[in-house]
Every structure is written in structure tokens, then in C-alpha cells.
Amino acid sequence: MPELYDSCLPLTTLREEEQLFRDTVREFAETRIKPHVMEMDREGKLPRELIDDLFRLGVMGIEIPAIYGGAGANFLMAILAIEELARVDPSVAVCVDVQNTLVNNALVRWLNPEQKARFFPRLVRNAVGAYALSESASGSDAFAMQTQARLDGDSFVLNGRKMWITNGAEAELYLLFANADMTKGYKGITGFVVERDFPGFSVGKKEDTLGIRASSTCELILDDVRVPRENVVGEVGIGYKVAIETLDEGRIGIGAQMLGLAQGAFEAALAYAKERKQFGKAIAEFQAVQFQLAEMATEIEAARLMVYNTARLKESGASFVRQSAMTKYFCSQVGERVASQALEVFGGVGFTKDYPAEKFYRDAKIGKIYEGTSNIQLQTIARTFLGR
């Protein structure tokens, strides 16, 4: 790293190990993921071998401390991994994103040492995690959830249904929210670690989605599921805090996913523009096409600065609620716009599955929906200066 004052280091300057890690993830994505992207999209599945490779690469336990077998790295590393994976396949990126920025992240903050010793070695070795908040009748209004937890002896009995759960099909551990006291409203919400093999727990149907098709989005069914008290995350009744604060961090991850997606779409369009000839020359020689590409590159640059700065804000311990909402809001727009423009650069073939543009375009749409729709991001941003 160049010798500069800390305060004027460019946001995109990476430390030696961050650079090495980013390069490694990029090479992994290029060689191990890229050849299978369309097949995974068609089949709607992440092959288990790929997930195992992700564990081996160490990208499933980025912030988990080294004593538990994790990498003990920082949040920016997780962001770099998500960005690089999304550049090749946003579906793989969201699997890694949920594991790190939602599940591990919440558990690092809220579990006690005994629980950490129980779950972390699994989460770094082979257990995929999922984050289960939404229900069919409570999406934006997540705290209106109907899934209930009733204390019975030294365990809670959970009943209800969760919807739209990313990694639902592959997960072994679910960070799941249920209300332990409906009379208290959102102050009854409690987080639990639910094991896939707990009796009464089952994974329902996988949604047939527009984009990120290889990523599973599933319903979870809880039918008198007994969850031991020792699996409560933090304390009973603070689940709303666990859920919302985790999403604040998770949104930076979605920003990184949309950033990587835009980068991938841009690079594909650039390569095609240099190769495709019309009117006797490469289309990249037409000023209109150059301007389109320049516009895309500029938006990507702005998105990257936003993602890195918000990630660094979080690491610094400063408040970042407004910035993370802004990051997701803006990056999801950039993802969609760039993917759309990239597709147009391809012309007719951009509309076919023979080229990567259409997939990036389909994959971009989810950025404006999950972890809070764009309206919810705007609401969050406005609240930071207008109050409730």
C-alpha cells in the first residue's frame, strides 16, 4: 500500500492481503464458476461440489474468528468476495452473501461463547446458513410476523411458515425469527438457530424465479418444532434488533452484489463492442456506443465508491444505517441500468441465452426487492433525518 496519510487513502486502495484475496476469488470465479453459469441457471441449482469448493476457499466463514476455523478477516473482505462472485454469477454471490453478511455476521455479534463453539466450526466447514425473517403476509412489514414460539419447559415450540428464504434448499442452520409473545408486538420477536433436522421442520417448495435462478428461494414449514432454549440468539424479545441491525449490514452486501453484476455486464458488453462489426467497423468505434460504455463505467465507479465507503464506515464503528440503505438503493439501480444497457450493446443476441447479458438483466431485478424494497430503503434514509 502506498505511503499516504490514512485519511487520504483512496477508497479503492486495498491492502496486500485484500488484493491477493480479491484476485484469488476472481480466478476461482473465472475458472470454477463461469463454465457452469448457464447450466446452473437452467437447472435452478447450485451443485454441492461448488458449495464445497466455496467452503474450501474460505469464503463461507470470512469474519468468523480463526479459533473456530474461520478466516478472522474483516467485513470488506466479505464485500470483495461478493463483488467478485457476482461479476461472474450473482446467484453464487448471494449464497455467500447470506452466509456471511446475514447469518455469520449476526451470530458473531449475538451468540454466547458456548453457542459459538457449537455452531461456528460447522459454519466454516460445511454448513450453509439461511436467514428467515419474511412470511407471506409480512414482507416490508416484517415485524408483523405470525410465526410463534411458545416456551415449554426448557425449549420453545415453534409454529408457522417462512417465505422467500434464500439458501433454504441447501441450508443446515437457519437463523429464524418468531414471536415469543404476541401481546408485546415486535418486542416479542426472538431469533433462534433452527437445525434442518429438528422434528417438525421442513423445507417447502422452491420458487420458480425470474433471476438468480440457481439460488434457492424456499418456504420453510414449522410444525411444533422444538428448539432448545440454548439456541436463542441474544435474548428473548430482542429479535427485532438482531434482525434489523443485521439487515443494515446485509444491505451493503447486496450493494456489492449489484456492483459486481454491473461490472460483469459491462465487461461483457465492452468485449462484444470491440468484436462486433457493423458498417465495416467495430461497433465500439461508434461514438454513441462509446458514450453508452462510458456512462456505464461511470455509474459503476460511483457504486463502487459507495459500497467500499459504507463497508469501511461499518468497520470503523461509525453509524452507517443511512449509508447502507443508500448503497443498496443506488447500487440496485446501477445494476439494473447497466445490465439493461449492456444487453442493448449486444443487440439481438443480447436477448438470447447464448450471451451473458440477458442473465445479468434478469438477475439485477432482485436487488430492488430483497432485504427491503427500494421504497423501504428510501423510508429508512428519510427517517435518518426526519425521524419516525
Partner: protein, 251 residues
């Protein structure tokens, strides 16, 4: 077993190489550098040997400028224990490299030196052989499989030679150079990268090794390969046969 693995910093084989207009070398601006792919295979093999034997040490050695730290750090992140960097800015021919390595081998006394069969930049394919000669150690070049005796005092290597495989046995210490099919190198894992930050890269000024590295070769000129001419499409098999006969003169 203690293994010394040589690491050379070379341009990424994926990058397009351009020769400078005056033929004095290649254009190095904006080139990405990597570990010589055959050396990467050597690192992987050394790590597998260590893992299989349940102990030992993997020491990386490189000769070059400060920037080689990047490649050594990558090797350490793959799992090597420590690294030595001989700081040397001047260009070296294979014999000079072999002489410097001889000095390092004398210092480190490894049981095994694993090297790439060649570096993909200059393609000389001789540093390993020269090192073996200078040390008067046995050598096995182009290894595609390596096995050790239970007492770790001797090794068997399968070599890829023209038209088949050759199996040779020899006593240790020895030099082995790696071929493409020996293994598939692992990625540096993130925990590996984090651990590598604390691993030692010892720097030794080249003068301290006291080897005569005066170049015996000079690169006179570099030239890009001639441009390929566009191919020809023919309509019928007969036309193809005719051209193979009259133009290509191969049948």
C-alpha cells in the same frame, strides 16, 4: 522432510505479450504477474508431501526485486511455511540462478528441491539441471508422479518422456522438476491468506551469497511471432484434398 521450492515471478500467461519496438524486451506496463505455473505445481506438491508425511517444512525461495514479495506471499497463503527472497535487480541467466540456489541449498540443507521444469517467460528449462550438476545431486526432470520410500531416504519419479513414461529411482537429497500433470494447484484460501501475513519472508542481498553471477549470455533481440494468415474455406472434400496436395504438399 524439508523441501525447498523455487518461485519465479512471470507475466500472467493469460495476458497478451507485446514486444518493445526496439526488440530489447517486452512491454511491462499494465502486465499482471503471477507465480510461474510450473513453480505453482511445485509448491502444491511440496504441500502435499508435507501433508502426507504429517510433518516437515516447505521453504520458498525466489530471486528478484522487492515486487516478488507478492508471489511469495501467494505461495505462503497456499500453505508454505516461510520464504527467502534474494534481492537482485539485474537480469540473470540460468547458470547464475543455479549458482545462487546452490548457496541457498548449502545454507538450508533441504532433503528435496522442487522446481518448475521451466519458467514460462524465458522457457530455458535448465536451472534445475544445472543446480543438480553443481550440487552433484541426483535429478528427476519432468515429474508427473513422485513417491517416497517409507524411510524417506529415496524416491521414485515417473517422468513424461517422448512416447511414454519412464520410472526412475534415486537417493535423496535430490532435485525434482515438475511437469504439468503432476497435480492441480490449490487456491490460496482466505484463512491461508490471513495466516500468510505473519509468515516470514527473509530478504538476502544478492551480494551476501558470494556467487559469481556475471552473465554469460546476452539477449540480443526479441521478436513477436509472425502473424498468422487467414485460413481458407473450401466447398468440397475433393477441393480440400487437392489443396493439401498442391499447396500444403502434405499428401
Amino acid at each position: 522432510m524439508k523441501t525447498l521450492v523455487t518461485v519465479k515471478r512471470v507475466p500472467d500467461p493469460e495476458t497478451t505479450i507485446r514486444v518493445k519496438p526496439d526488440g530489447s524486451g517486452i512491454v511491462t506496463d499494465n502486465i499482471k504477474y503471477v507465480i510461474n505455473p510450473f513453480d505453482e505445481i511445485a509448491i502444491e506438491e511440496a504441500l502435499r508431501i508435507k501433508e502426507k508425511q504429517g510433518g516437515g517444512e516447505v521453504v520458498l525461495v525466489s530471486i528478484g526485486g522487492k515486487s516478488v514479495t507478492e508471489q511469495l506471499r501467494t505461495g505462503l497463503a497456499m500453505g508454505a511455511d516461510r520464504a527467502i527472497l534474494v534481492l537482485c535487480e539485474q537480469p540473470l541467466d540460468s547458470l547464475a540462478v543455479a549458482k545462487l540456489l546452490t548457496k541457498l541449498v548449502e545454507k538450508e540443507t533441504p532433503e528435496l528441491v522442487l522446481m518448475g521444469k521451466q519458467a514460462i517467460d524465458d522457457d530455458s528449462n535448465q536451472a534445475g539441471q544445472m543446480l543438480a550438476a553443481l550440487l552433484e545431486w541426483p535429478q528427476a526432470t519432468f515429474a508427473s508422479k513422485i513417491d517416497f520410500a517409507a524411510d524417506q531416504k529415496s524416491a521414485t519419479v515417473i517422468r513424461e518422456v517422448d512416447g511414454g513414461l519412464e520410472t526412475i529411482g534415486f537417493a535423496l537429497p535430490a532435485i525434482i522438476t515438475t511437469d504439468l500433470r503432476l497435480n492441480e494447484p490449490r487456491y490460496a484460501s482466505l484463512p491461508g491468506i490471513m495466516k500468510a501475513r505473519k509468515k516470514e519472508i527473509k530478504e538476502i542481498p544478492v551480494a551476501d551469497l558470494g556467487a559469481d553471477i556475471t552473465p554469460r549470455l546476452t539477449v540480443v533481440k526479441m521478436a513477436p511471432p509472425p502473424k498468422k494468415e487467414a485460413g481458407k474455406k473450401v466447398e468440397t472434400v475433393q477441393a480440400l484434398l487437392d489443396l493439401l496436395h498442391t499447396e500444403a504438399k502434405v499428401i
